[in-house]
Symmetry: C2
Subunit: 463 residues, 2 copies
């Protein structure tokens, strides 16, 4: 946890932006797996975490009453009965103190407080919930139908939270760096321990154990697959074979809830094949080009298109595409091989603040999110600012379903050499992803450097 | 998956029991962590799994229309767009076929079907939901308020499902055996790799990697702790020290959703201390006594009380308790050290069918669940039957908060030597847990045997 001053200042800043109203800030509750008391690992709500620092305790609410200039923590101390099951819990008063909160009330008083202030005509701000349990709680608390909750969320609050959370402080960057370091350790293990005969799940399990051992957990489901052509394919009992390419996209969340997110693609055997290396180099070139472009004021959407152009140029050189690269990208032909976005914001969430709406997080009133295939998956389009943390993750994915479907309809015939592409239907996919903080003059790689060129990866693998 | 005949027969049996009505059988949906699309590992609903065998696909419903003798799978095939992200998915028709279901309909037709049959006056059966998302879906589907859903669940359906699921078939016992074997591998790893200097979380992460590598996952949050005095204490960054007792309670869920659940307690260093060994032997004696009593017709509640008496006798021998053991147990004095139950049903859930209500699963109309401290945590009280699978897990827990509280109020002064107990406040806790199938004449240990005596544990640790 940072010092209480950090959280006090963050809430003060929020109050100054919103000027008036009552902000409801619920922490997450436990999430049941197969019955009420068998829980998934607890994950705190990131906005609650940002403004309070309280990570591992469920069922808390903070009310920020701007008009009375009061922050109140609503929560219940553990009963002796609960202490039989889980031991001593930190008293609410001490938890609150660490967040710089002086008022503590039992949960049963939450509804009374909110109802009273509503009846006094105070504006109520809350964020759109992403868990059904909270939708039900909010409906109860506010006397609304559950179907009204999502549309009643406060756009002012969304915008205020995004404006604060998108700029990472130095102390946040240090925490993100720690999460990325653990992520680097996971990838190092994956590269060194992926061998013919082992299963995807065996290796994925080992990566998760590294994240847990570091005191946190995985930040998102691990992608570790010999079928990297599918963007979010999950590990299975597939056994790696010599000649396979392994795509590993994973990240740790650290003890404070900050995340890392990286991808490496490497051979299951000792070396890349010539073809694998050629395609890898195309992705690496696009990656490096995009990274060189990171600086305040640059539109991330432009970097996405620049990287796409680099990919097309490379594919043209190896005979899979043809024609003018800029025209191909303008037409969207590159999306046969690069169906997603160049990257996204990262912080307390792996897609930072995605629950608040991508239009608010990644775009502006002047720049709305596209609905075109490809660009619709670009989560960040707007101009970069110092303090943003972003991923850069171009890739090439040879998806046989898409190739068959588009070839059948003759889509992008002018730009795609389908006969050559046909031979790539069992190639798989390659992605290279790293995390960067935007600095005053450019960008800074977060976490320790990890082997990225084919040569360095082969050297690490065989070390 | 078992053969389609298994699932067909299970549904046929259910129809025969219920005789009439429409059974709504929803599978689980994905469960969001910190935004809608960042999911916890998928866990299928166990009843859905029992009657369909479909484990790893979300957002499915099966309707069992008893009056029309029709089973219908409602679900949607993956769109080409989804296949960009996750690859080829098994078509609904093939999934259904494996379950012995011939009718498949898109999800959008679910509401029409249910509404029509409701309007025709058909009785609708559904189980009480344990996830808020399903409560919302059911409220929508049935035109009810969400607060009415839990109380509108079908008791007939609950009873019918319990009566079927509580008796495990031979093919089920083999699957449970596999899950227990993985659980044994986890414990073997824990015993051999717990050493002074390592953290609880490091070891817990390694255990989870074994469960994942075997193709499933952990069946419940791992308990691995030097604070075994708290029944469900979770791993932390505590470093093990020489002299610590480590309590590890963990279990794997296998690829088909069947579970294992075992506990071992062992020294962090090479050997138990004399005191640790003495207390261990008391728990082991209670464990063995209870196991010897497992057979059809025996009330599990009686075994719980028998084990409790054994614990009191042992504690009396080492000077922590006094007086007549039977009287002490009748008074509840043993609950100072054994605050929970002897065991529970196990199957597709780790506490099998706990979502259906413990009164229905573990008790009978003649034997209601106690509300007394201690017995209120006994999830299974009723008479055993051939085919039941149960855990046996007595323990002794020296909880300093409870000792202080009860000493202060002079509770059970006649049976507890508080001066001697005072010195045990930093002892920790010991639990020994294994899984048994009830056979015609007794019981059978599930899974491979694992070191259980202090000597065997020390030998395994130092092997």
């Amino acid at each position: 946890m940072f010092s209480s001053k950090t959280y006090l200042n963050r809430r003060m800043h929020l109050k100054r932006t919103l000027k008036t109203g009552l902000v409801l800030m619920p922490g997450n509750s436990e999430s049941p797996m197969n019955y009420a008391d068998n829980w998934y690992p607890f994950m705190q709500d990131s906005t609650f975490l940002y403004y309070t620092g309280i990570n591992c305790v469920s069922d808390l609410w903070v009310l920020i009453d701007i008009d009375k200039d009061r922050d109140i923590l609503f929560g219940d101390d553990a009963t002796p009965e609960e202490m039989v099951w889980t031991g001593a819990a930190e008293p609410m008063v001490e938890l609150a103190e660490k967040s710089g909160i002086t008022m503590v009330r039992p949960l049963r008083e939450l509804e009374t407080y909110v109802t009273k202030r509503r009846q006094q005509g105070q504006k109520i701000h809350f964020l759109p919930p992403y868990r059904a349990a909270l939708t039900l709680q909010l409906a109860e608390l506010l006397g609304m139908r559950h179907s009204e909750i999502a549309t009643s969320a406060s756009v002012d609050l969304i915008k205020a939270v995004v404006a604060q959370r998108e700029i990472k402080s130095d102390e946040e960057l240090r925490e993100i760096g720690k999460a990325v370091d653990t992520t680097v350790a996971m990838h190092t293990h994956a590269i060194k321990n992926s061998r013919p005969g082992r299963t995807e799940l065996e290796i994925a399990g080992e990566l998760q154990s590294i994240a847990i051992g570091a005191g946190g957990n995985i930040a998102f489901p691990i992608i570790l697959t010999i079928n990297g052509q599918y963007l979010h394919n999950h590990p299975t009992q597939n056994r790696l074979e010599k000649g396979d390419l392994v795509l590993c996209d994973c990240g740790a969340e650290n003890t404070m809830g900050y995340t890392g997110d990286m991808t490496r693609t490497f051979p299951a055997g000792e070396r890349f094949s010539d073809l694998q290396r050629n395609v890898y180099d195309i992705v690496l070139d696009a990656h490096n080009t995009a990274v060189s472009g990171l600086e305040p004021g640059v539109m991330f959407k432009d970097l996405h298109l620049l990287a796409s152009t680099k990919l097309v140029e490379g594919l043209t050189q190896i005979g899979l595409m043809k024609g003018n690269a800029d025209d191909a990208v303008a037409a969207g032909a590159h999306t046969l091989f690069f169906q997603c976005g160049l990257g996204h914001m990262m912080g307390l969430d792996i897609h930072d603040m995605e629950n608040l709406g991508e239009q608010y997080v990644g775009y502006t009133p002047e720049l709305t999110k596209s609905t075109e295939f490809g660009l619709q998956s670009l989560r960040l389009g707007k101009a970069l600012q110092e303090g943003f943390v972003v991923t850069v993750e171009p890739g090439l994915y040879f998806n046989p379903f898409l190739i068959d479907a588009w070839r059948a309809e003759g889509r992008f015939d002018d730009f795609v050499n389908y006969d050559a592409v046909e031979k790539m239907k069992d190639f798989g996919g390659i992605r290279i992803e790293e995390d960067f903080a935007i600095t005053a003059s450019g960008s800074k790689l977060l976490g320790k450097a990890l082997a990225k060129t084919p040569e360095a990866i082969e050297a690490l693998k065989n070390s």
